[in-house]
């Protein structure tokens, strides 16, 4: 029968291929974690001696604390500011019908389709022309040029599935603009806002090309890792790499668990009524 596809056979093959590619994606990260427990000062495989001393050395190092603090400050500020701007940006992108919307949609997405290293360098020229000394604060600005459009896109996907009749009904029942925003619009858009926030935080946390040109004398974790990688091996590179990876993993897991708890509570409340 030609009419019944996909066949079982092709589904299995597709699944196997997907697993192969997923392994391809994760093997290098496992290699980094593996290397972080190696005793030697240089990397050699198979690993002969195991140790966790590099972790304590990395955590005790004052410069590493500075790096983590800088990266954390940048990512936190970027998240808060980007989500704020992108919330309204996404409403304009997907919710309201207005003259100029099609043009706005295209222009707002341009920074995503743009070489980041070139964006970083252009911003460097821009800051120096305006007489602004680059530091971690200018990096916040630089990250946002790239991250705000991405968050707008993510929140927009949520907005598209939004039924505007709900807002209209609330207005008809006498709700004020602010009440509609608080009681209807925000709760419905919250999944998009949360995923936009996660992306904003982690994309900023891991960004290299923009930070490279915009942090000035300050340094973020990816910049430090790059500098060490290019100049030679130190066991602190895989260690700090593993630390930031597990940090990201824990953060994602916590958010997932919190999300599941909220969903369950909501379902429970809806069930009891």
């Amino acid at each position: 029968m030609t009419g019944t596809f996909p066949t079982r056979h092709s589904t299995t093959l597709t699944a196997i291929w997907t697993i192969v590619v997923l392994l391809f994606l994760y093997i290098p990260m496992m290699a980094v974690v593996l290397a972080s427990f190696s005793k030697l000062r240089y990397f050699r495989f198979p690993i002969t001696g195991w140790t966790t001393e590099w972790y304590s050395k990395t955590l005790e190092s004052l410069s590493v604390r500075d790096l983590l603090w800088t990266s954390l400050s940048v990512a936190t500020l970027v998240t808060v500011l980007s989500v704020g701007l992108a919330f309204f940006g996404a409403l304009a992108f997907a919710r309201y019908d207005w003259t100029g919307r099609k043009l706005y949609q295209r222009l707002v997405l341009l920074p995503i389709f743009f070489p980041q290293a070139v964006l970083g360098l252009s911003l460097l020229l821009w800051f120096s022309a305006l007489g602004i000394t680059t530091s971690w604060k200018t990096a916040v600005f630089a990250h946002m040029i790239w991250i705000v459009p991405i968050v707008i896109l993510i929140i927009s996907i949520q907005v598209y599935s939004f039924d505007s009749a709900l807002e209209e009904a609330a207005f008809d029942l006498g709700a004020s603009r602010w009440q509609v925003m608080k009681e209807i619009t925000l709760p419905i858009m919250s999944p998009g806002i949360v995923s936009g926030g996660i992306f904003a935080f982690l994309l900023s946390w891991g960004n290299f090309p923009l930070s490279l040109f915009s942090t000035g004398a300050d340094q973020t974790v990816p910049e430090w890792l790059y500098a060490k990688m290019v100049s030679g091996y130190t066991p602190m590179v895989p260690t700090l790499g593993s630390l930031t990876m597990s940090g990201a993993a824990i953060l994602l897991l916590l958010i997932y668990l919190a999300w599941m708890a909220i969903v369950r509570r909501k379902r429970g409340r809806a069930g009891s009524q």
């Binding site: 309201y96 020229l125 040029i145």
Partner: protein
Amino acid sequence: MNWIRQPGVVAALPAAIFLFVGFAGPLLMVFGYSFMPEKTFTLKQLPTVENYVSVVTDSYYISFTWSVFLAALTVLLLFPICYPIAYGMAKLFGKWAKLVTALIAIPLLISENIRLFGWVLILLKNGIFDGTMQSLFDVSVSGLLYTVPAIVLGLVYVYLPFMLFPLVIGISMIPDVVKEAAADLGANRWQVFREVELPLAMPGIMIGCILSFILVLGSLAESKILGGQAIVMIADDIESAFTFAQNWPKGSVLSVLLIALSGFIVFTLFRRIDLDQVIGRR
């Protein structure tokens, strides 16, 4: 005056002003610097086109060619790798599709430097691959790192999700009934793929190909971390012009050319697709 009072305009303004100051401004500035005489740090000189001429006469076309070549090669490799997976995620995997999506998105959230460093550890002399081959088969395979294939591997690895996710959106835009109808009318697998799937999934395919092409075009870390001194890509040349050479006009010219090339491709794409349809699936 009524235009400004539309709710859409009010909502669009904050992000629009921000991007105007932070994106349009710097680009205009780079454009301005590209017409300044060599090694000047102000915009107050007489404009000249000598920088544009020297890009052609100097050997900058080499790094440009490498970047375009590697971008095209990466796209050609990524499409067949990603298509089956995207198809599976859109049509076959059912409830597993969410898990696969998450597993492919998570690496995006980890700095590409760390992930590329993983490949360094694998490809390094006495590294994971070499070490395994030595202890299992007693053959040494060093010399994998700092080569062009290593760079291609890194590019395919880093930009895979940027091809995959648009493909998933594209393929999920194909209604199942259309394919079944084609098959019932006697089309074979290949015909269904070429005549039905490809045209209907085209917006997603174009976004995926163009996004990954442009990202590779401007990539920096892959060629530096996995390629060492093997080749120079255009972003690398731009960076050195701005930093080591302290020649802002030269760096600006190269940037303008790269921006023009990417911009041309993106605008061609944007003219052909409707973003409401692709993102909102309406």
